[in-house]
């Protein structure tokens, strides 16, 4: 475990070493690529002042709120697509068009509808994630063996109970795969919205630094985003392992 983490970190160490060497040799102007030490110092300063945590919390709050919205709407819809013809008729074509759309194109509309504060960003983030969630829940539900639902019915489950007792858990591996794709997507769109709209958060802070030609701040922002994204993805993988401990993949 520790060995594996060390191996993964070593790739970044090589990258950072290249950064430092390029600086020291004067290959790139410091404004285009500031010294590693300056970026590290800014990072330490952001952590010490608490600015990093405030911005990360603001970004994560809106990302997770949007993501939760996408799950709350997307999972039931995805399960119902193949089970309720009316839902399938309505949702399926919309998903197939919406899925490859660049979601961020809707930002001006959401700003008009929901204002320039948290709500429009949350809706934007949820909107960007919801299609992936619907598609995953749909795919997972279609693969459920009919014997599984028949067993539940003959044990006394009603048709409504089948969704909670059989469809949802049976589709869970594929739903989680969808969520693992949707979460970074939500984070990307959240940061992009902050960069376009300004305000607090990691993206907002970075665009602020950019406006003041503060290239150290821009690089520090990138590193902070990478940290937050990495932690979010790792926690999601952990959640998957916990929820799927019954699944053969857990043994691997």
């Amino acid at each position: 475990m520790i060995g594996r983490i060390a191996l993964r970190c070593s790739a970044f160490l090589v990258l950072l070493a290249g950064w430092e060497v390029a600086n020291r040799l004067g290959l790139i102007r410091p404004f285009l690529l500031p010294p590693l030490a300056a970026v590290a110092a800014r990072l330490a300063q952001d952590v010490a002042s608490g600015a990093f945590f405030l911005n990360a919390a603001a970004t994560l709050y809106r990302t997770l709120a949007g993501f939760a919205l996408a799950c709350a709407i997307g999972i039931p819809l995805g399960i119902l697509i193949s089970r309720r013809p009316l839902v399938g008729w309505f949702v399926e074509p919309i998903v197939s068009v919406g899925f490859p759309m660049p979601a961020i194109a809707f930002l001006p509309i959401f700003m008009l509808w929901f204002g320039v504060f948290d709500l429009s960003k949350i809706v934007m983030t949820g909107f960007s994630a919801v299609f992936t969630v619907i598609a995953a829940a749909d795919a997972g539900t279609r693969g459920v063996e009919r014997q599984l639902t028949w067993s539940a019915q003959s044990l006394g489950a009603s048709r409504a109970e089948l969704f909670r007792d059989v469809m949802l858990p049976a589709a869970m591996p594929q739903i989680l795969t969808g969520l693992q794709v949707a979460l970074p997507l939500a984070l990307i769109v959240e940061v992009a919205s902050e960069m376009l709209m300004g305000g607090n958060g990691l993206g907002g802070m970075m665009v602020n630094a950019e406006n003041y030609a503060d290239s150290v701040g821009v690089y520090a922002g990138i590193v902070e985003m990478a940290l937050v994204g990495g932690v979010a993805v790792a926690l999601m993988a952990r959640l998957r392992r916990h929820l799927l401990r019954w699944h053969p993949e857990a043994a691997a």
């Binding site: 063996e145 009919r146 014997q147 599984l148 028949w150 067993s151 539940a152 019915q153 003959s154 044990l155 006394g156 489950a157 007792d165 059989v166 858990p169 049976a170 869970m172 401990r245 019954w246 699944h247 053969p248 043994a251």
Partner: protein, 268 residues
């Protein structure tokens, strides 16, 4: 056992069933099937693959709609799945996300029994199928034979009147199958349930069943119903008896004729 369910018989009258493999095409799977399964008896449906024996079982289970004809148990007409008819599938169909204990508790909970009483009851059925010690295992961690024991316990714990079994031992190796057959007979004698058992294994049908219905293929019809009755002997060595071998051979010839028939091209 303190099983409060009452075994009931099954009366099937003029049952036909069509299915739609593609939109616009209809294939007749069952044709005018009439059959009576006596209360508490063990009835085998035997036939070549594709003869509709599983379709017939699924109709009794209420999983497929009754289109033409009727199926009646002592509780009335069959229109939907219900806990009075328990089912065991070839692929076990356990809930893989639940442990053995949770799987068995599922049907018990649906009957409104909870807490310590539910656990006691689940444990009784776990003990009955010899899975003691595996309560906390997930199905994926068990062998095929053990998964089928768990599935059988789950079905029995819901206390159905009728047990529907769809080639339940078809996915097991020969040794495990023999042991499971013996244990099923033991459980059947204890509980006195009405059993409908689908198989394509002639010896299995003769060993287990009171009565055997041989089915023909495409469309599925009941060709003949014969009585066997070796199961009442409670003698695992029945396989070696000459009259057992004779009965197997006789029925095999009938099934064989159906297989040959099914191979011939379908005429309009």
């Amino acid at each position: 056992m303190t099983d409060k369910s009452v075994p009931t018989g099954i009366v099937i009258t003029g049952l036909s069933h069509d299915y739609t493999p593609r939109a616009g095409t209809r294939v007749r799977a069952l044709e005018d099937v009439s059959l009576t399964v006596a209360t508490g008896s063990f009835h085998a449906l035997l036939g070549p693959s594709g003869c509709g024996k599983s379709t017939l079982l699924y109709c009794i289970g209420g999983f497929l709609p009754v289109q033409i004809g009727s199926i009646r148990t002592d509780r009335g007409l069959v229109t939907a799945p219900g806990p009075d008819r328990g089912v065991v599938f070839q692929n076990f169909a356990l809930f893989p996300w639940k442990t053995v204990l949770q799987n068995i508790l599922y049907g018990i909970g649906k009957r409104g029994i909870r807490g310590a009483e539910a656990r006691d009851r689940a444990q009784r059925f776990i003990d009955l199928v010899h899975l003691t010690g595996f309560e906390a295992s997930f199905p994926g961690q068990l062998s095929g034979g053990m998964q089928q024991r768990a599935a059988l316990a789950r079905t029995l714990a819901a206390e159905p009147d009728i047990l529907l079994m769809d080639e339940p031992f078809g996915a097991l190796d020969a040794q495990t199958r023999r042991i499971m057959q013996e244990e099923l007979l033991g459980i059947w004698r204890q509980t006195g349930k009405t059993v409908v058992f689908v198989t394509h294994d002639v010896a299995e049908a003769v060993y287990l069943a009171d009565e055997i219905s041989v089915m023909s293929a495409r469309p599925g019809r009941i060709r003949r119903t014969l009585s066997a009755g070796f199961n009442r002997a409670a003698d695992p060595a029945v396989f070696k008896r000459p009259d057992f071998a004779e009965q197997v051979e006789l029925i095999w010839q009938m099934v064989r004729a159906e297989v040959d028939d099914a191979r011939r091209p379908v005429s309009a």
